[in-house]
């Protein structure tokens, strides 16, 4: 039973990682990446590593996600080249 859950979680990790790179829209990619971070948190919980889970949720998914979204907001505005 737990093995099935682990396999499912591992597959969702891979799927969300794959979609992060492959999905055509950039904003979706970033949301998928944050989802990936939250799934990683679950994986750390399964690996009995709550310390990493906390750090992953706060830094990996939270701060990195915020940084990416902010950068996306700036980059999406086209700028005239030199």
């Amino acid at each position: 039973m737990t093995l099935a859950f682990d396999l499912l979680l591992a597959l969702s990790l891979l799927w969300s990682g794959w979609r992060t790179l492959a999905t055509p829209r950039l904003d979706r990619a970033i949301v998928l990446f944050i989802t990936f971070g939250l799934l990683m948190t679950l994986a750390w919980a399964r690996l009995s590593a709550p310390d990493i889970g906390l750090a992953e949720a706060a830094i990996g998914a939270g701060l990195t996600g915020a940084l990416l979204l902010d950068a996306y907001g700036v980059l999406r505005r086209p700028r005239e080249g030199p």
């Binding site: 737990t2 597959l11 950039l26 990446f33 990936f36 690996l47 310390d51 990493i52 750090a55 950068a71």
Partner: protein, 100 residues
């Protein structure tokens, strides 16, 4: 098959996915995402493989905490560079290396 091994293998696949992404994708923001997938993969291998008999080991846990902080530092620096490049040239992909 233990929990540790499942996630170690998933980590190996994520690492390969990330490296392939960095090699194949031109868009810089995606490359940064790919780099993060690669880093997460290596961290999963570090913890998962050490716990392949499903007993928690605090040493790799501490190492991964270090790895996460290093990854966010690198990500922030990369984003600053991408934004600077965008502000200077309007590009979000690396231009060909102009030799002359």
């Amino acid at each position: 098959m233990t929990t540790g091994l499942v996630f170690a293998m998933a980590g190996a696949a994520l690492f390969a996915l990330g490296v392939a992404g960095i090699v194949l994708i031109g868009h810089l923001l995606r490359r940064i995402l790919a780099f993060n997938l690669m880093g997460s993969g290596a961290c999963l291998v570090l913890v998962g493989l050490a716990q392949r008999h499903d007993v928690a080991d605090p040493v790799p846990h501490a190492m991964v905490l270090t790895g996460i902080v290093v990854a966010v530092a690198a990500t922030a620096l990369a984003l600053a560079l991408v934004r600077k490049l965008h502000a200077l040239s309007g590009q979000i992909e690396l231009p060909d290396d102009a030799d002359e």
